[in-house]
């Protein structure tokens, strides 16, 4: 083997190691989660996770039902997505199809800036500014509820939805639009009847990825949702999400206890939920890319 061949081989392996690192890390995380969650199954059995109450610190009976937490994550995520879709999609349409180059130069950095705001800052803003407003507008007893959380999370999802939807809209072939305009449709009709439908699967993938960001978000929801584990879908009630539960309880829990191990189950369920969401988004995105254009 010549020196050149040898160095080629070494470089190849180095690259392979670098590439397989992520796979290895994901596998290790899964392994770790399952290892730490086993004591719970041994002590209480898997059935205890299907309880309807989350009452991990109790002198009466410790209860580890993930149901209210799951419902909390679900309602906040769903609400945030509903709020983010119109702003995200219409914003993307405007930036990609209607805005002048100058406007685009202004909008795009701001969208990126919004994406970069640390979640703890948003949470603080939510607690001090948004919660009192929500309380006053809806005549509630407290502004710390699912709606306030969802409004803030929508702010986080919007930049994701805008940037990916914009890419999708941009890649709609010019010939589609030209054909539509040539047939006598005006600009707005072309956008809504031709461009948006052609980019639809890309837009759906954008929304799914936005949801992925929302469901995993921790700090903001911990600060503004009130964290009461009430099993409800009412947006004006306080909710406790899965992420907030892990963040809030991991610090003080006795290491190796059933409670400790139950938090890993919450983590596993969260991981599976985001995994499914990402998989659907990837599939939609792939279908969209495979489809022949123009």
């Amino acid at each position: 083997m010549t020196k050149k061949q040898l160095s080629d081989l070494v470089v190849k392996y180095l690259f392979q190691i670098a590439a397989s690192m992520t796979v290895l890390i994901v596998a290790l995380i899964f392994l770790f989660l399952f290892k730490e969650s086993i004591p719970f199954v041994r002590d209480l059995g898997l059935g205890a996770l299907f309880d309807v109450r989350w009452e991990p610190v109790s002198y009466v009976k410790e209860r580890f039902g993930i149901y209210p937490l799951f419902l909390g994550s679900l309602s906040v995520t769903f609400l945030a997505t509903i709020i983010a879709i119109p702003f995200g999609v219409i914003g993307a349409v405007y930036i990609s199809e209607i805005a002048t180059p100058l406007e685009r130069e202004i909008f795009k950095p701001f969208v990126e800036l919004l994406a970069g705001i640390p979640s703890v800052v948003l949470g603080f803003f939510g607690m001090v500014v948004l919660a009192p407003i929500v309380k006053a507008v809806f005549h509630l007893s407290s502004g710390l509820n699912a709606l306030t959380g969802a409004l803030l999370l929508a702010l986080m999802a919007i930049p994701t939805i805008i940037s990916i939807s914009e890419d999708a809209l941009k890649s709609v072939p010019m010939s589609y639009k030209q054909a539509s305009l040539a047939l006598g449709a005006n600009k707005l009709e072309t956008i809504w009847r031709v461009t948006v439908p052609a980019a639809l699967s890309g837009i759906i993938a954008a929304i799914m990825l936005g949801m992925g960001r929302v469901i995993g978000e921790t700090m903001t929801v911990l600060m503004v949702t009130g964290n009461a584990p009430i099993p409800t879908l009412n947006p004006f009630e306080s909710v406790r999400t899965m992420t907030a539960t892990i963040a809030a309880e991991m610090g003080e829990v006795a290491f190796g206890s059933v409670h400790y191990s139950s938090l890993f189950w919450v983590g596993i369920i969260l991981l599976i939920a985001t995994f499914i969401l990402n998989m659907i988004a990837q599939r939609v995105l792939k279908n969209y890319k495979r489809r022949p254009h123009g």
């Binding site: 007893s141 009461a228 584990p229 610090g251 003080e252 829990v253």
Partner: protein, 281 residues
């Protein structure tokens, strides 16, 4: 040429590391645990290091559980805890061949706070229990306005949460509707904004909040109604008070012993009072 550059860079790094870490110069002590105790502990460490400049005391928060598990796996020499060590944790220390040793280094009272406009000034322990367990959910029942009570508690991870549950709720569960906030300050902030709210915070926070919230007088049974102050916590007339603990694995030795002795000294206990907690001696 290349070699000399590496030597220079290496030497520079080494000096930087040595310059930045006085750790190598003397003893170092790791203290980890409760967020309630972290400020008080830092004040102790600051004064302690002024007296013994060669030593280094590092204080970290993270929670009572975090501190105790750090004590277990040897990354901390002392653990701060706002709750008593659990049996499970004691057993783990014993299985390593050590006895857990507890020092009560300060006392803390828990004030029950409401909005300043609330006409109610005092409640007895049973009434507070009924409010926080959700059995009573309207202020009217206790002579207040006809309005729903808005409950705030600390999160279940907090040592204060567990203590209040044991002492006041008599081991019953909190109402599921109680909103759970991450810190004492968040509870003060929320109660000061909601006219129908009730919550509980440590003594230091009651004093700091001033007129923004009202601390209720608390009655035990038929006893007198007592306001939460340093005085009433110290002489045990205020019913909701607890000890704050420092734990070590076996009897503390060397620097750890000196630091514990310092906490319990007259000077250390003066710092306790200055920080809004209550001295034990």
């Amino acid at each position: 040429m290349k070699k000399s550059l590496i030597t220079i860079v290496g030497a520079a790094c080494l000096t930087a590391v040595m310059g930045l870490s006085p750790v190598f110069a003397g003893d170092t002590l790791q203290v980890k645990g409760s967020d309630t105790l972290v400020h008080l502990s830092s004040s102790w460490a600051e004064k302690f290091m002024e007296k013994k400049p060669a030593s280094e005391v590092a204080i970290t928060g993270g929670g009572s559980g975090t501190g105790i598990s750090a004590l277990l796996n040897g990354t901390a020499d002392l653990a701060n805890a706002s709750r008593k060590m659990k049996d499970l944790e004691k057993d783990k220390i014993k299985s390593q061949g050590f006895e857990p040793v507890e020092f009560i280094v300060a006392k803390d009272g828990i004030g029950v706070i409401v909005h300043p406009s609330n006409p109610i000034n005092q409640l007895n322990m049973n009434q507070i229990k009924q409010i926080f367990t959700g059995q009573v959910n309207n202020w009217k029942k206790y002579g207040g306005p006809k309005a729903k009570i808005l409950l705030y508690t600390r999160d279940s991870s907090s040592g204060t949460f567990a203590f209040f549950q044991k002492r006041v709720l008599k081991e019953k569960d909190y109402s599921v509707r109680a909103r759970r906030l991450a810190s004492n300050s968040a509870i003060v902030e929320s109660v000061s904004k909601d006219v129908n709210a009730i919550g509980y915070v440590g003594l230091g926070y009651v004093a700091e909040a001033g007129d923004r919230v009202k601390a209720l007088k608390v009655r035990e049974g038929d006893g007198p109604a007592v306001s939460p102050t340093q005085e009433t916590v110290k002489n045990d007339t205020y019913p909701i008070s607890r000890g704050l603990q420092v734990y070590s694995k076996g009897q503390p030795k060397g620097l750890a012993k000196e630091f514990v002795d310092y906490m319990l000294s007259a000077e250390g206990q003066q710092i306790v009072n200055d920080r809004g907690f209550v001295a034990v001696q």
